[in-house]
Subunit: 311 residues, 2 copies
């Protein structure tokens, strides 16, 4: 079933204790789409400026399942740019600069060829833009949004309107606390369910993610890895793997139950664990489906909880 | 197979956002033994003073699988006392006071009746005392130690001597960082394996635990819960459930493989999740085996990762 994603495509400069990457391809939509494309075709709705040169397009071409017909190149505008630095404790990062560029202009429109999209993911952007795209797909099977602290702070009303319409929300533990005032991620997740969604995925970075669903609660650790070169895009690739799984595994009319989201999260976890191994999209660009399947099976074994001892 | 534990039995005063408990039964050995007793008989080696009154003995009597023949009541000495306060973010606590009392005197000796113990757990205490007890059981099947930042700081040499003799070490992520200088828990775990143990369990509190074993790596989240009244003893009850499972599930000569430790951690996770629901030993004292089995099955379902989608 066709999956569509809107969000940012940008140019990142990243410093980490393992080195630096200058002016490389980044953006929430980019990471999401590359990750989802391991499981399903995915369509991109995003806008860049005329400084988005051929090398960036060449990266997208490494992911043949990613359809960039909806990537608008706007002449006279500048691509979104972000610079960040990860500290020795790589859970902490400093933003060095943010140049919104074309993101301050009107949002891109999905092309007519995307009209039959049924799985909709709204990667991090202004909730009013997310809502507009969501409403372009009234026949969707599922609509899921990501968000960030900035929108909770400056666009709370628009975010609440969006939450009334989406099926699912993905956000990190600090954002869940900020949105609800509740520090316990399950309590926060339950509060968010009251605002509309059927499920909330609270991401905890290296500590995994918690699913709070109207049917119950589930939890997964992150894939334990020593190889973390660049955490940028970890959350977006997690969401991409999750939504890619749902779009691949379900037919148009299938209900999406809690168990499906839970398995989808496992797929997202595995893809995200590869993404952090190199800068930018470098690891996903050389990743094979056989590697994904192998690590998935390792992960399933690592978290396996078998029969209890007779007590 | 008989399980023996040495560590502290003490009197705690705990304040949390959910209330206070004054002069209640606590201590690493106490929590460990109560938790392990759901799976196997467990023998206690500890010492208290003559201020350890009948109400505390009465709590032990609620756990008929806990053998307190090795709990020495030393006349003229004072029981170890600890006071702590959990902050609004219950991952943070302040120590209000520590009165070592009898812990500053000579350690207790295991009674002759404990001689056939084969599973040995050294709950948190001075590594020289831990090592002395360990060496009293040369026919042990497995010996596992816990430790804390204090001993890493002031008794590193004795701790390194202990590590050369134990099969496993249980410690939290900050302690693993402190012991090895490595922030990544897997990297830290691998460094510790070089010091002697066959496995290391790195505890991450509400985020679960990572197993680094000579055979590989495994990971489990904590049981997701909204009911956290008093986190005291969470790590000790986790270790108790873990060792209780191993002692119950294995015969004397069985090798203890990575898969066994992994399943043992799941049992520890479930017991620990009950312990935090009330102050002191209050929740474990009224816990039934049926409740343990039910939550174990819920947990297994929550972390279940099934067949991958065909990719």
């Amino acid at each position: 079933m066709p999956l569509i994603v809107t969000g940012t495509v940008g140019i990142d400069t990243v410093h980490s204790p393992h080195g630096s990457a200058e002016e490389v391809l980044g953006g929430s939509c980019t990471y999401f789409a590359a990750a989802a494309s391991f499981f399903t075709p995915v369509r991109v709705v995003a806008v860049v400026g005329d400084d988005f040169h051929d090398d960036y397009h060449a990266v997208f071409k490494k992911f043949p399942n990613v359809d960039v017909d909806g990537l608008e190149i706007r002449q006279g505008s500048k691509t979104f740019r972000w610079g960040g630095k990860y500290l020795e404790d790589m859970n902490q990062r400093e933003t060095l600069f943010t140049e919104l560029g074309v993101l301050e202009e009107h949002p891109p429109k999905p092309p007519a060829s995307y009209g039959d999209s049924r799985y909709v993911f709204l990667a991090n952007s202004h909730p009013a833009i997310q809502r507009e795209l969501l409403e372009s797909f009234p026949d969707r099977v599922i609509g899921v949004a990501d968000t960030m602290n900035l929108w909770i702070d400056i666009a709370r009303e628009e975010l609440l309107s969006l939450l009334a319409e989406v099926d699912g929300l993905v956000l990190n533990d600090e954002e869940a606390h900020m949105l609800t005032g509740k520090r316990n991620p399950i309590t926060a997740g339950r509060e968010i369910l009251r605002l509309g969604p059927t499920f909330v995925v609270v991401k905890k970075g290296e500590h995994g993610a918690i699913l709070v669903h109207k049917e119950g609660v589930a939890v997964l650790p992150a894939f334990p890895t020593e190889t973390v070169v660049d955490p940028t895009g970890a959350g977006d690739t997690f969401a991409g793997g999750m939504m890619g799984y749902l779009a691949a595994a379900h037919s148009k009319d299938a209900d999406i139950h809690m168990g499906s989201i839970q398995q989808a999260m496992a797929h997202g976890t595995v893809i995200a664990s590869f993404n952090v191994e190199k800068f930018s999209l470098d690891r996903l660009a050389d990743l094979t489906k056989a590697e994904v399947a192998k690590r998935y099976n390792e992960f399933a074994e690592m978290v396996s909880v078998r029969e209890p001892v007779i007590i």
